[in-house]
Amino acid sequence: MELLVNGQRHEVTPDAIESLADTLRERLHLTGTKVSCARGECGSCTVLADGRVVYSCLTITNACAGVAITTIEGLAAPGALHPMQRAFIDHDAVQCGFCTPGQVLAAVALLSEIPVPDESQIRRAMSGNLCRCGTYPRITQAIRAVSGQDTAP
């Protein structure tokens, strides 16, 4: 099948029920997509499918024909940073970094849907992405900064 990832077409032959996370990591070597639970509980494997958040561990690759997949590697041009990535750095919304790609993509998807989210909208949209280090307050700050809301550094 043909899989469209980060604007590039890839010819892949996934197993019948292979997950998108496995295809991205094992076949396309896009290891920025992390697998932490492999059963839709944590959000580490979050990618964008046609701009919307999906858990790639629960997404069957064979069902992704014609869908534009964006992974963390494709969020900005090589060597460049998306404003959300920049804000995560500036607000220290990163500790171990394992959940970070998923968090960044979930935050980007949130702002594409709600350009200026309030606190409850941020909580709701981001609560599917676990962070065990506890960067949540910093992530909130990063999202507020990118959406042009007042943030104390």
């Binding site: 094992e26 992390k34 944590c42 963390i72 750095i89 171990c96 970070t100 909580r123 506890g134 960067t135």
Partner: protein, 806 residues
């Protein structure tokens, strides 16, 4: 650090995770004068951005499970589905039939020369089973999917044995033996620790309160599961492992395989959290190393989430009976504690009673602690092990005492302020709990005495009365004060506080090397680990400061037993206080050499040169030159400095202190607790990077919030099986649970602890969070709470109980 100059190798005592270790230390040739409080520092103390954040936000940071290699095999451990007994037959044939299967090992395939390999407190692949999840075999295959299928295909015949899944069961008369050898309690149990005369102190008390407190088994639940990738090149083994201790893993693997340490290289570049669970080589490490040797191919063994949540350690559950005696003015006269800790099948003894000896001034303390073994997986250090559990029991008891005395809980703590280490009769190196309490109270707006609980009541207590609030909330009365019962309200609001003490002074040995290349770029090499703590950033700042370099010119290389000199495990909040002085010393030596070179090249005396912001600046007005201008002229002669961590100062206690304040709302209809805000003030000595320090404080607080409200591993007592081995049923905090957090550190410098002035910061913030929240809940409901997590059913049970009494 002025003692024993005549000897190079001396013994020194350091405190790791609350336990004392004696180590030999090599006295460094160079001594560092402490960076004092009024010293002008240019990089240290600044909010430098995390140096590895760009890699992490772009997905280019490589974690263990991202490692790949030509011919990589995937390995899966096959685990026991019964808690106790024996695997009498392990049939691998169905696994061999799976397409892609390559190899499998059971106990009999392990090398028989030398001692059996131990992992997670049991013999590796021992067919004698001592907990559910005990590894029995390991299969490997060409793909992850094939490996999983092969693991599922392995057929095991069990001979079950009676088991004990809880400490209460294991310590009953007639309980089944839990382990193959020895009893169901540890050899050191019961461990008694006493000072003064606790019984006499109790007799002298005006007020005595008693309570039994329970803390749950909490799981580390790091986002990256445990994993290893092992690869042999001839007789040289490379282990990529997400570990908190590369040298510990190296030594353990070398010993297990019977090969020299020089033949094992352990690499840890990035890891997805540790929190205490990743301090050692474990079953997955040995399985990957052995299968890689057998197959001649690289092997990756990364745990699935269910295994991560059921066989990688946990915070040991505890039951803590507390008796406090006090004078009417609040001064403690006696502390008596009896505690039982459920270690699981094995584990080191993280004392839950130690904090009772440390936190408050009391002449008479006696604690008795029993460590029980059960047929559950072994405990492992978990952020502030022991103290976090003990703090819940101690700080809840203190609030109960305050309630009995009718005293402001803050005032009670200030009256019992411990200004020195009472156990060893020695001063603290620095640190001030009183200031943490006072500053925290100020930032939080703690105002118990005036506008809270104003209504005086008959017994003199003003606890738990209606507080001034503009919202539709109110307070329950004390049992027995029904005359003053306010209007019942669904949502109750409450306030609580708790304090913390934790040894975090670090210690030797730790080494670092600094190299300045011809182009002026700088390497710092030290064999520590960055778990997400920010160690890379911290050491770049320390090196830049000592060298006069720009932080962006410094690259910190960590986590490679072949490339980097020894540093200890990243545990016990000891990475910064252990390694930063070594980095500083290495950078100062390089600084000195660089000045010598600059002097010889420019003809200006070294004492007339300073280095700052990457420039070498003559004092006499000659133009400044970049470091690279000097080093380029040296060509391949590399400016190098070496540093090591000297011994700790004798006769002082190296402690961190802190206080946290919580405001909660409790829904008395649903039992749901919502934390509204938390204020934390900690004293950890010098803060090297306030941006990262705040992140780490918040992280500890959020884990503490999970411990208070949600987190509890549940074992079915009849089946001995874990019931919530996943991130859906084992609840860690999410974005939706996070209150407003105001976390800060006092502006202090600990010049006694080490020449950098910093103590550790990782563990202190988790310790007081749960008791602060629990105290706020008790305040809101007007009833004591004795058990965490404060799940809705516990809240409803506590609240309904109090209503029945009324």
């Amino acid at each position: 650090m002025t003692t024993e100059r005549t000897r190079r190798f001396i013994a020194t005592t350091i405190e790791v995770e609350g336990r004392e270790e004696t180590k030999v230390v090599e006295i460094p040739d160079r001594t560092l004068s402490p960076w004092t409080a009024d010293q002008q520092l240019n990089v240290v103390g600044k909010p430098v951005r995390r140096v590895d954040a760009p890699e992490k936000v772009t997905g280019s940071a490589v974690y263990t499970s991202d490692r790949t290699a030509r011919g990589l095999l995937h390995a899966v451990l096959v685990r026991s589905t019964i808690p106790h007994g024996r695997a009498v037959r392990i049939d691998l044939e169905p696994a061999r039939a799976v397409r892609g299967f390559v190899d499998a090992i059971v106990f009999d395939d392990l090398p028989k020369d030398g001692k059996p390999i131990r992992a997670g407190g049991v013999r590796f692949l021992d067919p004698g089973i001592s907990y559910a999840g005990h590894p029995l075999a390991c299969v490997c295959a060409d793909s992850m999917r094939a490996a999983r299928a092969a693991a599922h295909a392995v057929r095991i015949e069990y001979e079950p044995a009676p088991f004990a899944a809880t400490a209460a069961r294991a310590t009953e008369p007639g309980a089944p033996p839990v382990r193959p050898k020895g009893g169901n309690i540890s050899r050191s149990s019961p461990m008694v620790c006493a000072r003064g005369d606790a019984d006499q102190g109790l007799a002298e008390a005006d007020v005595v309160i008693r309570g039994q407190y329970r803390t749950p088994s909490a799981l580390h639940s790091a986002m990256e599961p445990h994993g290893a990738v092992c690869e042999w090149h001839g007789d040289q083994l490379t282990v990529y492992e997400g570990t908190q201790g590369i040298f510990a893993v190296r030594d353990e693997v070398a010993t297990a395989l019977g090969i020299p340490r020089s033949r094992v290289r352990v690499v840890m570049d990035h890891m997805g959290g540790g929190f205490g669970a990743k301090n050692h080589a474990a079953a997955h490490t040995y399985a990957a190393a052995i299968l890689a040797r057998r197959t001649g191919r690289p092997v990756r063994c990364v745990l699935e989430r269910a295994a991560e949540q059921s066989d990688t350690g946990h915070r040991a559950p505890s039951t803590i009976d507390v008796t406090l005696g006090a004078k009417r003015d609040g001064r403690l006269t006696a502390i008596l504690v009896e505690a039982v800790v459920d270690q699981g099948i094995s584990g080191w003894e993280a004392s839950v009673t130690k904090i009772f000896h440390e936190l408050y001034a009391c002449p008479n303390v006696r604690t008795t602690e029993t460590f029980a073994y059960t047929n559950t997986h072994a405990m492992a250090a978990f952020r502030g092990p022991g103290h976090t559990e003990g703090a819940f029991a101690l700080e809840r008891s203190m609030d109960e005492l305050a309630r009995d005395l009718g005293m402001d809980p803050l005032e009670l703590r200030l009256r019992n302020y411990a200004d020195h280490d009472q156990e060893k009769s020695r001063p603290w190196s620095g640190g001030d709990l009183r200031r943490c309490l006072e500053e925290g109270a100020r930032r939080f707006g703690w105002n118990w005495g005036s506008n809270w609980g104003q209504t005086p009541i008959s017994n003199g207590s003003n606890w738990g009365q209606t507080r001034i609030s503009t919202e539709e909330t109110s307070h329950t009365p004390q049992p027995g004060n029904s005359a003053l019962t306010p209007i019942p309200a669904r949502i109750r609001r409450g306030f609580g506080l708790a304090a913390q003490v934790w040894p975090a002074g670090g210690g030797p040995p730790a080494y670092a090397t600094v190299r300045i290349h011809a182009d002026g770029s700088i390497d710092v090499l030290t064999g520590t680990q960055d778990l997400g703590t920010g160690a890379r950033t911290i050491f770049a700042q320390v090196a830049a400061e000592a060298l006069g370099a720009r932080v962006e010119d410094v690259r910190v290389v960590l986590g490679d037993t072949e490339r980097t000199p020894f540093a200890p495990n990243s545990w016990g909040s000891m990475t910064t206080p252990s390694v930063a002085p070594a980095v500083r010393m290495a950078a100062e030596e390089a600084h000195e050499r660089l000045l010598e070179a600059a002097s010889e090249i420019t003809g200006i005396a070294p004492e007339c040169l300073t280095i700052r912001d990457g420039m070498i600046i003559p004092s006499a007005g000659a133009p400044a030159v970049p470091i690279a201008e000097i080093t380029r002229k040296l060509g391949e002669v590399t400016i190098t400095g070496n540093g090591s961590r000297g011994p700790n100062e004798r006769g002082v206690g190296l402690m961190t202190f802190g206080a946290q304040f919580a405001e909660v709302e409790v829904d008395t209809w649903t039992g749901v607790v919502r934390v509204i805000r938390l204020t934390a003030v900690h004293d950890v000595g010098r803060v090297i990077n306030p941006l990262l320090a705040r992140s780490q404080l918040e992280g500890g607080i959020i884990q503490g919030l999970g411990f208070a409200l949600f987190e509890e591993r549940v074992i079915d007592e009849r089946l001995g099986l874990p019931l919530n081995a996943g991130l859906h049923d084992y609840k860690v905090p999410t974005m939706a649970d996070i209150p407003e957090i105001d976390a800060s550190c006092l502006d202090t410098v600990d010049t006694v602890a080490n020449p950098v002035g910093a103590r550790g910061l990782a563990e202190p913030p988790i310790i007081p969070t749960a008791p602060a929240i629990a105290n706020a809940v008790a305040d809101a409901l007007g009833v004591a709470v004795y058990e965490i997590p404060l799940t809705p059913w516990r809240i409803l049970a506590a609240f309904e109980g109090s209503q029945t009494i009324n």
